[in-house]
């Protein structure tokens, strides 16, 4: 047997995210579209891995909390804004686009798991129910 045990995908393929700022910390809500996706992100997207993902850019500590009640993970990245929004020299001084930077992170899962996530419906009500637009 010669098959690939894992596939690599960007988090954007199974989750959505919003970032916010408080002083020098950027926080992320990361949300799986469905239960199958939540099982994957809970396993794969740890504080250590998020820290490693941002390490080429921001060296700060990462805190994480799982929220299975809303199929979500909460992350806080310290030292993310050059000291805070009103002294940050970046165009994105409040880290508004950093949620998308999190969605760039690559994770590994088996092809069966990926298929399961893709064929599971979104939990939320949407005007036209389909997983991908």
């Amino acid at each position: 047997m010669n098959h690939t045990p894992f596939v690599k995908i960007a988090l954007a393929q199974l989750a959505h995210a919003r970032s916010g700022d408080k002083a020098d910390w950027v926080d992320f809500g990361l949300f799986a579209w469905n239960e199958a996706g939540y099982r994957i992100i809970e396993r794969e997207v740890t504080a250590t891995k998020v820290q490693a993902h941002f390490a080429p850019w921001i060296a700060g500590q990462v805190d994480a909390w799982p929220l299975p009640n809303m199929l979500a993970l909460k992350f806080v990245l310290h030292g993310a804004l050059q000291g805070g929004g009103a002294r940050n020299l970046r165009l994105d001084n409040l880290g508004k686009a950093m949620g998308a930077a999190l969605l760039r992170m690559e994770i590994e899962l088996s092809p069966e798991e990926f298929e399961q996530v893709q064929k599971s419906p979104r939990r939320g009500w949407w005007p036209e129910a389909s997983l991908r637009t």
Partner: protein, 463 residues
């Protein structure tokens, strides 16, 4: 006791759009609108206004907003709570009163103040360590320009109890703008809250406030995803979120009929975790919220049921956000076209660095980013090779100087113009000849509750 209350979201920041609030008022069957004009940094902007003119220092958009909304609110009995007072709630209230009076409208206006704690912060014997990194305030004390405590919902409850139609506050916890009307209208215990039920109801109210305090971000706006967001209908006519809250704290998030946007499990939870750190200890002056058991359930179109917020007693400290002068920046942006655009950008940057050195200009940092390439995601953005970049039609560079010296900041833009005729060719769009601005550091800290006294007064009717 009232069975339920409907409260609508006002603005989510100073400069936000109030047309969606018209829809909520006319078609949303709301009894209250609560409007959050103050982001963490807004007081820094208002402080600059107040420096120029002591009668300013508030979010001035509240005046045209109420000129538009009050004639719609008044006949429907809708009451309005906002923190547009900023650093100067009395001036804001007078400005609103005067403007409405010119139209023959005379609402009862309440003013909430007492959040200004700059004086205790400046007192040398006080300790106000940085909330996040523990640094001592002595390092910035001389440079503080504002400091405001986040007040709770009690003065808003008092104002509504005294019949205020419009309540204008300075800095209060954003969610307190919503919790105040809920406590008032549903008869919840606040100062005398004691039982788990009392605190759980307040926690539900805080959750509602948090879901509504960012206007369209709670109803499908700014929805961060790859794909999916295109299915959110008609953002140009978005309806801001409205909460229907029952006396037991059960809440339903919805919006006005005929508006755009989307209220569902996904859009509501994206807002629920926004700017939350530990979700099991979300602090506010009125209750500490644990989100760990919250259940969000879609109940048909644009209707999400929210239950399960757990509350416990607040601490004896209030959060303060202070700002201090933190040097200057000056920024330049400039475009370079094919051919060799990348090499030309690098050459220009090297010439600027050597000029900074030769002229002995004082600076802490020269920050460089390339809009279109890496300004959103820094080193996490995929970067083409130099050879590929040299083939690009154009490359933009943004250089920002951080310096303690205003003179150095003022001189930065003037390092560039000679290059137009004597530097690399094919450039366009130079900006930043005069672009100095002052930077502000943010100092979050805590203050014992007993050192802050919230005040509420009803404005005398104008003559």
């Amino acid at each position: 006791m009232t069975q339920s209350i409907r409260i609508g979201s006002g603005l989510g920041f100073y400069g936000d759009n109030w047309e969606p609030v018209v829809a909520s008022t006319e078609r949303g069957q709301v009894q209250y609108i609560a409007s959050d004009h103050l982001a963490e940094l807004t007081l820094a902007i208002l402080q600059k206004d107040r420096q120029r003119d002591p009668s300013l220092g508030y979010a001035r958009d509240v005046v045209p907003m109420l000129l538009r909304l009050w004639p719609l609110m008044q006949p429907r009995g809708v009451r309005f709570v906002c923190n547009a007072g900023g650093l100067n709630p009395m001036s804001a209230a007078r400005a609103v009163q005067t403007a409405l009076a010119t139209q023959g409208w005379h609402p009862r206006i309440a003013v909430v103040s007492g959040d200004d704690v700059l004086t205790p912060l400046q007192t040398p014997d006080s300790r106000f360590d940085h909330l996040m990194n523990g640094a001592q305030v002595t390092s910035v004390r001389e440079r503080l320009v504002f400091g405001n405590a986040y007040l709770g919902a009690q003065p808003i409850v008092d104002a509504l109890g005294q019949g205020a139609d419009i309540v204008i506050t300075g800095r209060v916890a954003d969610a307190a703008l919503f919790l105040g009307p809920l406590v008032h209208g549903l008869g919840w215990k606040l100062a005398d809250a004691a039982t788990p039920d009392d605190f759980n109801r307040l926690a539900q109210g805080l959750t509602v406030g948090h879901l509504l305090e960012c206007s369209g971000q709670g109803s499908g706006g700014n929805f961060g995803s790859q794909g999916h967001w295109q299915q959110i209908p008609d953002l140009a006519h978005i309806g801001y979120p409205i909460a229907e809250v029952l006396a037991d704290g059960t809440a339903f998030i919805t919006k006005a009929p005929g508006t755009g946007g989307l209220i569902n499990f996904d859009t509501v939870r994206q807002q629920l975790l926004y700017e939350v750190h530990n979700p099991h200890a979300y602090f506010s002056p009125d209750v500490v919220l644990d989100m760990g058991q919250i259940e969000l359930r879609d109940e048909g179109e644009h209707r999400v049921r929210v239950t399960g917020a757990l509350g416990r007693a607040p601490t004896d400290q209030l959060k303060v956000v202070a700002g201090f002068r933190d040097g200057f920046k000056a920024e330049v942006s400039w475009g370079f076209s094919w051919p060799d655009a990348w090499d030309k950008v690098q050459a220009a940057e090297a010439m600027i660095r050597s000029q900074l050195k030769e002229r002995h200009m004082r600076f802490d940092e020269l920050f460089v980013e390339y809009p279109g390439l890496n300004s959103a995601h820094g080193p996490l953005a995929p970067m083409p090779s130099a050879a590929q970049l040299n083939q690009r039609a154009e490359i933009w560079v943004r250089m920002v100087l951080r310096t303690p010296s205003k003179a150095a900041a003022d001189g930065f833009g003037r390092l560039f113009p000679w290059m137009a005729l004597s530097g690399p060719a094919y450039t366009c769009g130079f900006q930043g000849l005069n672009s100095t601005s002052e930077l502000l550091g943010i100092w979050p800290t805590l203050i014992p509750r007993h050192r802050v006294s919230a005040q509420m007064e009803i404005l005398e009717p104008c003559a």
